[in-house]
Amino acid sequence: MVTKFFLPRILTALGVIFGVVCVVFLLLHLVPGDPVEVMLGESAQPADREALRQALGLDQPIHLQLLSYFKGLAQLDLGTSLYSRRPISEILLERLPATIELGLASLILALTLAIPLGVIAAIKKETAWDFGAMGFALFGVSIPNFWMGPMLILVGALWLGWFPVSGREGMGSIVLPAITLGTAMAAILSRMIRSTLLEVLTEDFIRTARSKGLTEWTVTFRHGLRNALLPVITLLGLQLGALLSGAVITETVFSWPGIGSLVVEAIHRRDYPVVQAAVLLISFSYVMVNLFTDLVYAWVDPRVRLSK
């Protein structure tokens, strides 16, 4: 029973990851623009270009390049950085903790903001509370990270001096990046919680709960919110994608030494193997998280796994 639901999903996820590797590889290699020319400049000697092309394996046909990349991946060998000459897997491992830390902090912040906001907006529907909460949500999705970050630095670091401007030293340094990254997520989640809770509160079992004489608190939280949070789990997985791509910009703004800022640094250094590996790692974690939320969803709600 269980394998019938879980196995196809796991296989699909593996297929998607295989496809993602192919697409990233092919797009980054076939897109207009010659990495060798960009790395050496237009005035480079043809012989030097040929040498670099050979060293990078770019003189091989594209399908052979892809094949050897897969061979490397199978042994967890992501290649070597053109800039630092170190194994890329080593660089990624070094950067990963900072991104996980920032991601978790933002996630916790987003949930602690979104759940109360969404619930208040739903139970006080069409009052000033609702408009206030949804107004916040609208601003949250409309302010881009790369503006919110500098604004927070201006107020929280330069004017008030409460937090460091950038870097990752001490507890205080995570506050501003986490607010930057968490706010947009909180905004989207609170809108979702509001609308699903409103829907759930019109269900028959809520009326039954009320007519049993349960308090409004128990009805809202035990019977309403618990059911409303189910679709939110799925959205949470999807939002993590926004979080990960937002991390690229947020980490750059705050010089936070994670995978996101690594992508941008590698782009500016023309270190394409590192760009490719980092993009793959981020996409891989995204697919894995969504597979995980799918499975959790099915585990929490028997209706999902039994209906299919």
Partner: protein
């Protein structure tokens, strides 16, 4: 009504007309005045000057053109390509559709604009490359939506009737299917514009968008972050412009969704 429709519409019209008519205004976005470096705004020069002594107001208007041009090119290309591919895939069905769904799944496995950042990075800076990168990422959402919508309407009686009288598949798709599914696509496209405006500014912020001295709101914010303590106006002005445009598009999208009575918007729900 005023708040939901009037003000957003006003902001969007202002943005569009500055983008289209801005080139006829007497602007000097790239004129350098050394005596005015980092000067904040005053009665004549409202928004002040940047680190090279260029007028921020003029650059803001040029930036409006950049974001408007990119947003409309990307959304037009993505919308057309995406909805055509999605419609064909759903209508033809069978193996073609199965394969197409796999392709969509793969593209949706890239979080947000990450792929666009990598593509723009490899292609090198420049506004054309920004349009290409954002379009490669952008078409998928419309394809997915169009496919789902066509699947839900293709078994209707009028479609069967059209097939029965021997209407060609292309005509069925164009005349009998696309008009039925256009409402959700329009709503998706209106939110898509907001996404692309942020995407372009984000790429330019990372130095992957417009080339200096060309102005984009994103590159203006980037330039300003270095002088935040002495000249915060350099960051505040383009950021506010960006925020108001995106806010206006989102409000208009919300209104459009209610007006066209489309249920739910967004990625996978």
């Amino acid at each position: 009504m005023m708040f939901r429709l009037g003000i957003p519409l006003g902001i969007i019209l202002l943005w569009a007309s500055l983008a289209v008519l801005g080139q006829f205004l007497p602007l000097s976005p790239n004129s350098i005045e050394l005596s005015k470096i980092l000067l904040p705004g005053n009665a004549q020069e409202w928004l002040g000057f940047d680190d090279l002594g260029r007028p921020i107001f003029d650059r803001l208007i040029v930036g409006a053109r950049t974001s408007f041009f990119v947003a409309f090119s990307v959304v037009t290309v993505s919308l057309i390509v995406g909805s055509l591919l999605g419609t064909i895939s759903a209508y033809v069905g069978g193996w073609t559709d199965l394969a197409f769904v796999r392709v969509i799944d793969i593209f949706l496995a890239f979080p947000g604009i990450l792929l666009a950042i990598a593509l723009a990075g490899v292609m090198g800076p420049g506004i054309d490359n920004v349009v290409i990168a954002l379009s490669i990422v952008g078409w998928v959402g419309y394809a997915r939506l169009a496919r789902a919508q066509v699947l839900s309407v293709k078994e209707r009686d009028h479609v069967h009737a059209a097939v029965a009288i021997g209407t060609r598949p292309i005509r069925i798709m164009m005349r009998h299917l696309l008009p039925l599914i256009s409402a959700p696509l329009i709503v998706e496209a209106s939110f898509g514009i907001a996404g692309v405006v942020i995407g372009e500014a984000g790429l330019s912020f990372l130095g992957l968008g417009v080339q200096a001295p060309e102005a984009s709101w994103g590159s203006m914010i980037r330039d300003g972050t270095r002088y935040m303590l002495v000249a915060p106006h350099m960051v505040i002005a383009p950021g506010l412009a960006l925020m108001f445009v995106v806010l206006a598009i989102n409000l208009l999208g919300d209104w459009l969704r209610d007006w066209l009575d489309v249920k739910g918007h967004g990625r996978r729900e």
